[in-house]
């Protein structure tokens, strides 16, 4: 086996694996799109009365149904909708009278800024605390932090957000309790509106992530290979980093994925608490007004992002764990 032969032979399994995962991911997104469509279209809630009110006349109802294309058979509707997706046409919003794309795009950006800011703070914080407590499992520091994280995990985002809004927004008056700004301009012009929502997201999720990292690190630190390294005189610092932490990488990457996924959901509630004009608030408002097109489109987009994160994590973990990488 020549050197170049070996290298391209090696490159193939990894590329093949990645392609396979992406392929199956796309299939899942498709399946989910169908589920969303089915849930929204088949369930008994009546769109017409929600949009036009209870005292709608039969002709008015018929007109709306025709307008929304709800009188066509469902397979046709499904196909049109999916085809629209591929073209980039996500449908028309009933409430706002504009295309979903133009409505959602700036909001998606706002939400992404919110989520990324939270993630950027969350990761070092959670990994740091998790690794620290995992290495010192059983110590008083570990127990104190465990109790703190336990409390934080349990507090729902809207409660945490409301309390923070009250403390910092109302009583102390140092931060805005409501993040109002023009959806088009984005929050970066007024960074103060980002603070409380981001802090809420971080506080509520940090405990969960730290615990996962801690569990992975604690398990690694209690392994036989750590014991053997110590008994053979390897310096403790090296044992912690190269033997303990390095082998806890996989569960930590897993944590990252869970966090990212959580944020997708968390963003919805936090935006509602602070009236932050992002995709989450749009989703909630649309659910209230039964704006089917918006719900369908956004649900699928969010689900796709969720799955994308999953796939990226699986691939990273496989590449980082020698045992999995060599079996490709």
């Amino acid at each position: 086996m020549t050197r170049s032969g070996g290298a391209s032979g090696r490159r193939h399994p990894i590329a093949a694996y990645i392609a396979k995962r992406i392929g199956s991911g796309l299939l899942v997104v498709l399946a989910e799109a169908i589920v969303v469509f089915a849930a929204v279209s088949f369930l008994p809630g009546n769109v017409v009365t929600a949009v036009l009110g209870r005292s709608v006349s039969p002709q008015g109802a018929a007109l709306l149904i025709h307008q929304l294309g709800l009188d066509k058979p469902w397979p046709a509707r499904l196909v049109t909708w999916l085809a629209g997706f591929l073209r980039g046409d996500l449908g028309q919003s009933l409430a706002a009278h504009e295309s979903v794309t133009s409505l959602a795009a700036p909001r998606l950006i706002n939400s992404t800024i919110l989520a990324l800011s939270a993630l950027v703070l969350l990761i070092p914080f959670a990994v740091g605390v998790g690794a620290y407590t995992g290495v010192r499992a059983g110590h008083w520091a570990d127990r104190v932090l465990s109790s703190v994280t336990l409390t934080l995990i349990a507090t729902p985002e809207f409660v945490m957000g409301s309390l923070l809004a009250y403390i910092f927004g109302v009583s102390l008056h140092i931060l805005p309790a409501v993040s109002l700004f023009d959806p088009g301009t984005g929050p970066l012009g007024e960074p103060a509106v980002l603070v409380l929502p981001v802090v809420t997201l971080v506080l509520v999720n940090f405990g969960y992530s730290a615990r996962i990292v801690r569990a992975g690190v604690a398990e690694s630190m209690q392994s036989e290979y750590v014991k053997m390294a110590r008994l053979n005189g390897i310096p403790e610092r090296r044992v912690v980093w190269r033997y303990g932490l390095r082998n806890a990488l996989a569960p930590s990457i897993q944590m990252l994925a869970l966090t990212a996924q959580y944020l997708i959901g968390g963003v919805v509630v936090v935006e509602t608490v602070f009236q932050y004009p992002g995709v989450g608030l749009l989703l909630v408002d649309s659910a209230g007004t039964r704006d089917i097109a918006v719900i369908q489109a956004l649900a699928v987009v969010l689900a796709a992002i969720y799955i994308g994160v999953n796939i990226a994590t699986d691939i990273t973990i496989t590449l980082v764990t020698p045992r999995l990488r060599t079996s490709l």
Binding site: P156, V159, M160, S162, A303
Partner: protein, 281 residues
């Protein structure tokens, strides 16, 4: 008190906390909150829906907590606001556990085609962010308490099925279970004698989890306006209703918020210590 002795006290307090006192604190809080929710409607002072005063007025002698954004008695609304939340959460978690155990044990015992089908369905549901699923279902079914119970049930079902399937798999291939097969044990008797008692640990830990998740989901749903509708009194709904009046009358938001927090935290504490106690068995 000097800083050193203060920190020493804090440290010893917290370490005592960890050693079993957490459970006691958790249980006490849980009983207090649940008690308030269940007995609240009975101690009724005045109607939770009647307009009794100027909106957002501060506490007075008649209205101990003041009024909410529409001028209703806040105390009365708080007393009435917990029972629906808890009963819906119980309903969703019990249903979730029963179906989750059945699906999970079945998938674990029949890992072939049946198991695969169940797990594919589970994976599909799990691939949705919970809130998105909630919103989609709410759109399809229309808002209301039935919707949120169904949504909470569907959202946690796949997680439960996964947990019980994993627990069953751990047990199903152990020698004593295979030994049972070799003496002809099958069907319900088999599951009841050999499997269920040996996944009891998982059951205990997971039930606590289930309830926590249900409470959070339903409270969030109510907050988002997808569950109980006005003029019903519900802690989650109250937080969103009274938010605009946060500056003038914070109690309308703070009191229900704190109550939900205590409920969720205490359930979590109790569930966590149940899980930890079973680990040492």
């Amino acid at each position: 008190m000097s800083a050193a002795s203060a920190s020493r006290t804090l440290i010893s307090y917290v370490s005592r906390w960890r050693s079993g006192r957490v459970t006691k604190v958790g249980v006490v809080l849980l009983v207090a909150v649940v008690g308030l929710a269940l007995i609240g409607p009975l101690i009724n002072t005045s109607s939770p829906t009647a307009f009794l005063g100027a909106p957002l007025s501060p506490p007075s002698r008649d209205l101990l907590l003041g009024t909410d954004i529409l001028g209703r008695d806040l105390l009365s609304r708080v007393l009435h606001g917990g029972i629906t939340l808890i009963s819906l959460a119980v309903l969703a978690s019990v249903a979730g556990t029963i179906v989750g155990v059945s699906a999970g044990v079945l998938a674990g015992l029949r890992p072939g085609r049946t198991g695969q089908v169940i797990m594919r369905a589970v994976d599909l549901l799990l691939a949705f962010p919970a809130i998105v699923l909630l919103l989609v279902l709410a759109t399809g079914l229309g808002p209301g308490p039935t919707t949120v119970v169904i949504a909470a049930f569907i959202i946690q079902l796949p997680g439960a099925a996964r947990v019980y399937r994993a627990a069953t798999l751990e047990v199903a291939n152990l020698p004593y279970v295979e030994s049972a097969r070799l003496r002809g044990e099958h069907g319900l008797a088999f599951v009841v004698r050999e499997i269920l008692p040996n996944i009891a640990r998982t059951l205990a830990a997971d039930t606590g989890n289930r309830f926590t998740v249900s409470v959070l989901l339903i409270a969030s749903a109510n907050f988002l306006g997808l569950g109980l509708q006005p003029p019903a009194a519900d802690w989650g709904l109250m937080i969103s209703e009274n938010r605009p009046g946060l500056y003038q009358q914070p109690l309308g938001v703070i009191v229900p918020a704190v109550l939900i927090a205590i409920l969720a935290i205490s359930v979590n504490m109790v569930a966590d210590s149940l899980a930890r106690r079973d680990e040492s068995l």
